[in-house]
């Protein structure tokens, strides 16, 4: 029941939002809907934890063997929680932004939330594909209608990239489907497919293409900085906070357990791509003058590390990925909120045009520093837990001969990330005020509240990560046991 509610509430309220006449009521309606979703998600984690409540399996297209099967294991629960928590935060933080045709804007936002929920919760491949695309279409319209100057070509590139890749995945899905013993799309049937090694090896890339574009992994990342820069900030938060997790989620749920032999075989190749992407993105981030682009590149580097850790294939690294997916979502939304505040006040995102904000806006400065330190993975912040687990997992990995090389080169990016993040803080917050920032005002109460919530989340998970880790423990073990049984 819970997964159905999580999908249906945003879906229906999104459709209703299109018919609301007034922009303000659409805004309030979207916020209300997202809060209800959030309550349902938390209630599902705390009170209604039984399997019956988390699994629904209804008839959908019987002649094709596809069912409306949704259910939450630890991974699904964690990511649906992230989605449910993020949307109210996004709506509150951007409450003051005004949009033309606001009812359409919020309708599309809610539809993309429904799509994301569906991706994280469906356990039927066709249904998964449905939601996978359904999350993309609203995002495309959101960026193209409400985005910046270059929005049309940029988001079109984004759309074409992801669409081609997901079609390749569709071929992979249909191929696996045709090989299932009972002609079914169910995840459990996909786990039981018997494939020759040859088949696994090429199927791997059909699936990985779709996930790599979404994450994005070098060299499929070129759509990402432009799209983040051009999208309206609320959409950028969805894209970077949650939508990139679809890629990681896909690898963990649909790629590695279904094609374990190929995952062992291609693991080193994928890891190398991750490493190249991480270092490359970090070096570019150092050069950026635009806050949005800086964060976009830093996100590529962080996602690369998570993908690398998946292919290290042990409990520690996998748990690190899980918790880091959640943390990264929270932290990056925090960063975007700050960017949004700065942009709204000064009409610019150029680091070189800002400076001395700490004197005029101490509240903003404190919160930005904490969130940025979480971005660098300082101890006591949530990202430290995730990155520590991932690094320790990668270092002790038996999946590859190059574990030390991988650890060392990934470690470089931590230093690089400290360089660009601290440099950004220094140039935005400290130094002398200029004509633009001399009149700066501190942030308002509601913005402070949201940032404080995020900061509290960062520190609480940083000090006491156990509850989050417990959610995903079972999933990690079952996936790894499938992997290990096929270890060459």
């Amino acid at each position: 029941m819970i997964p159905v509610l999580l999908i249906v509430i945003p879906l229906l309220s999104g459709c209703i939002s299109f018919f609301l006449k007034d922009g303000n009521s659409a805004r309030a309606w979207a916020l209300l809907s997202s809060i209800v979703t959030c309550i349902v998600s938390i209630a599902g984690l705390v009170y209604f934890t039984s399997n019956d409540q988390w699994n629904t399996n209804a008839e959908w297209i019987p002649s094709l063997g596809s069912r409306f099967a949704v259910g939450g294991d630890g991974l699904g629960k964690l990511l649906s929680l992230l989605t449910a928590v993020s949307f109210p935060i996004i709506f509150i933080a951007t409450y003051k932004s005004s949009y033309i045709r606001a009812n359409h804007f919020f309708g599309l936002m809610l539809l993309s939330q429904a799509g994301l929920m569906g991706v994280f919760l469906s356990v039927d491949a066709l249904l998964f594909y449905f939601f996978w695309e359904l999350a993309l279409i609203p995002a495309y319209f959101l960026c193209s209608i409400w985005g910046g100057e270059r929005r049309i070509p940029v988001t079109f590139k984004f759309f074409i990239y992801t669409f081609i890749a997901s079609l390749l995945m569709l071929v992979g899905i249909i191929y696996l489907y045709s090989k299932t013993p009972d002609q079914s799309f169910a995840l459990s049937s996909f786990y039981n497919v018997n494939l020759s090694n040859q088949e696994e090896l090429w199927l791997f890339w059909l699936f990985f293409a779709a996930f790599a574009v979404k994450m994005p992994i070098f060299p499929f990342h070129t759509w990402q900085p432009d799209t983040y820069e051009q999208s309206p900030t609320a959409t950028t938060m969805v894209l970077s906070g949650i939508m990139v997790k679809m890629g990681l989620f896909g690898v963990i749920r649909w790629l590695v357990p279904i094609l374990p032999t190929a995952s062992w075989a291609w693991g080193d190749g994928v890891s190398t791509l991750c490493i190249i992407g991480m270092i490359y993105a970090s070096l570019i981030a150092i050069q950026q003058d635009d806050l949005k682009r800086l964060i976009a590149y830093s996100s590529i580097a962080h996602i690369g590390l998570m993908c690398l850790a998946i292919f290290a294939t042990n409990t520690v690294s996998m748990q690190g990925v899980m918790i880091q997916m959640f943390n990264h979502g929270i932290n990056i939304i925090g960063l975007w909120i700050v960017v949004e505040l700065i942009e709204r006040q000064f009409k610019t995102r150029k680091i070189s045009e800002l400076g001395g904000l700490a004197q005029k806006a101490p509240g903003l400065a404190i919160l930005l520093v904490i969130i940025s330190l979480a971005n660098v993975a300082l101890p006591l912040t949530n990202a430290f837990i995730g990155e520590f687990l991932m690094f320790s997992g990668i270092f002790s990995s038996t999946a590859t001969k190059y574990n030390i090389v991988f650890t060392a080169s990934a470690g470089i990016t931590i230093i690089l990330s400290a360089i660009y993040t601290l440099n950004m803080i220094q140039r935005v917050l400290y130094g002398n005020t200029n004509a633009l920032t001399a009149e700066a005002k501190d942030i308002r109460m509601n913005e402070k509240m949201i940032l404080v919530i995020i900061v509290v989340g960062i520190i609480v998970i940083g000090v006491y990560p156990k509850p989050v880790l417990e959610i995903t423990q079972g999933t990690v073990e079952s996936i790894l046991s499938r992997m290990i049984s096929k270890q060459p």
Binding site: I61, L64, E133, S144, I145, F156, I164, V171
Partner: protein, 459 residues
């Protein structure tokens, strides 16, 4: 049988209706009544109620596959007349004749969905083609329309010649005209006949490299008739194509599969890549219809149960969406992409429904077009020999997004001058209805298949 008789009679009635009444509205209502009657009678025949029994010497076989297709074709024609009937009346003064010709085409459609001998195939295809030559040239004062008609006629006559030659050779090889005879081996005579039939049918469905007539004819013909030609007629040709090839040559499929696969690949590439460079939406739709034909060719390449079911579904999905897009295009003053600029602001209903139709044509999930493509891809993967074609197919589907989305971009993301487009509430309501059907079919594809099979007693 019901459909053939009724549509033939109604065609004659329509011809004389022009004498009885000068008012085009009356004529239109007579035509709509006839179409509704056709749909009902055809559905009744699916349930086993035949009103007419003739001894056709097994030359026509009315099986559920053909009847299912007829139902969809007639229902789409009904929608087409409801949406675009008024525009048809603007083409020229001979309104009654246009409707009469459409009914004669429907006779041809029902014959080509139920033939059991090569002679009937030939008759069916010709009954479809000849009225079409006339409809193409119906805008008599327009040079482009005349040129298109002549071109279509010459090329069509040539391909008919090929078809007759092929039929003659097959007659020589197997000694009769029956299909379903099932060639066990391919004798040289048979192979030559097969090739000739393949080429002529490829011409009729505008598959590459026999597609050169399509853009010019579709572009030159009055836009209402382009809509009809590129949907119902094309689908009928496909049904004839698959009936012929699964019936006559199904047993020797491995020997011709590769050549059909190559034609399919060429059609996909030519249609999609050329469509990218078009400046006029009408011409883009002409190439897109070639591209969609490429996807329908998958049914021939795969040739299994899923492929036939999928072809029926594809027909429905493709016809609904294309009729909708054309109905909107006809009302536009400017057929270029720029002509659509800012449509979302001035005519939100038109823009939204058009977007749904285009998304369906592009094959985005939750629209009928996705399910249709899905059926085709899974049929081809089940077949097992043509995985390269499947990959090519999805790459082409991705290319198609480019030109379909150009229209969506123009409508939603660009500013344009407001333009006068006359629409009635009924027109808008019908468009919304079709858009809803497209979405429902995309989410519950079972709905169509189940409802159609419901009428067949023995299933």
């Amino acid at each position: 049988m019901n459909a053939i008789v009724i549509s033939a009679i109604w065609g004659v009635i329509m011809m004389f209706s022009g004498i009885l009444s000068k008012r085009s509205a009356v004529i239109r209502y007579i035509a709509l009544t006839g179409l509704a009657l056709l749909v009902v009678c055809n559905v009744l025949e699916l349930g086993g109620n035949r009103f007419f029994e003739f001894n056709v010497h097994n030359m026509l076989v009315f099986d559920s596959f053909g009847l299912l297709f007829n139902t969809i074709a007639f229902a789409c024609t009904l929608l087409f007349v409801l949406l675009s009937g008024r525009d048809m009346e603007k083409v020229g003064v001979h309104v009654a004749e246009y409707y009469a010709l459409i009914f004669f085409i429907l006779v041809g459609v029902s014959v080509s969905s139920s033939f059991n001998t090569l002679l009937m195939l030939f008759l069916g295809i010709e009954i479809i083609s000849i009225p079409l030559y006339i409809l193409t040239g119906s805008d008599k004062r327009n040079l482009k329309s005349n040129e298109a008609s002549l071109k279509y006629f010459l090329m069509g006559a040539f391909s008919t010649g090929l078809m007759l030659m092929g039929i003659a050779l097959i007659y020589g090889a197997q000694g009769n005209f029956m299909i379903g005879y099932g060639a066990k081996t391919l004798s040289p005579l048979m192979s030559a006949g097969l090739l000739l039939l393949l080429f002529s049918m490829a011409f009729k469905v505008s598959a590459a490299p026999f597609h050169f007539w399509t853009p010019d004819v579709y572009d030159g013909a009055p836009t209402v008739f382009t809509s009809f030609m590129s949907t119902i007629v094309k689908a009928a040709a496909f049904i004839a194509f698959i009936r012929l090839f699964s019936g006559s040559f199904g047993n020797v499929q491995p020997q011709w599969q590769m050549i059909v696969a190559i034609i399919t690949a060429a059609t996909l590439l030519v249609g999609n890549i050329t469509a990218v460079f078009q400046q006029s939406v009408k011409r883009m739709l002409a190439y897109s219809s070639i591209a969609q034909a490429g996807f329908m060719m998958f049914a021939l390449v795969a040739l299994n149960n899923k492929a036939s079911e999928g072809l029926i579904f594809y027909t429905a999905a493709y016809c609904l969406a294309t009729i909708g897009v054309f109905a909107i295009l006809i009302r536009m003053k400017d057929y270029t992409f720029e002509g659509f600029n800012g449509l979302a602001k001035t005519h939100p209903v038109l823009a939204a429904t058009n977007a749904v139709f285009l998304l369906s044509l592009a094959g985005i999930p939750a629209t009928a077009g996705f399910m249709a493509k899905f059926y085709m891809l899974s049929a081809a993967i089940n077949n097992g020999h043509v995985l390269w074609l499947v990959i090519l197919g999805v790459v082409c589907a991705a290319i198609s997004v480019y030109y379909y989305f150009r229209v969506i971009q123009a409508m939603y993301f660009k500013e344009g001058e407001s333009q006068e487009i006359v629409t009635t509430p009924a027109f808008r309501g019908l468009l919304i209805g079709i858009a809803v059907i497209v979405i429902v079919l995309g989410i519950f594809p079972q709905w169509l298949i189940d409802n159609l099979y419901y009428f067949i007693p023995d299933l």
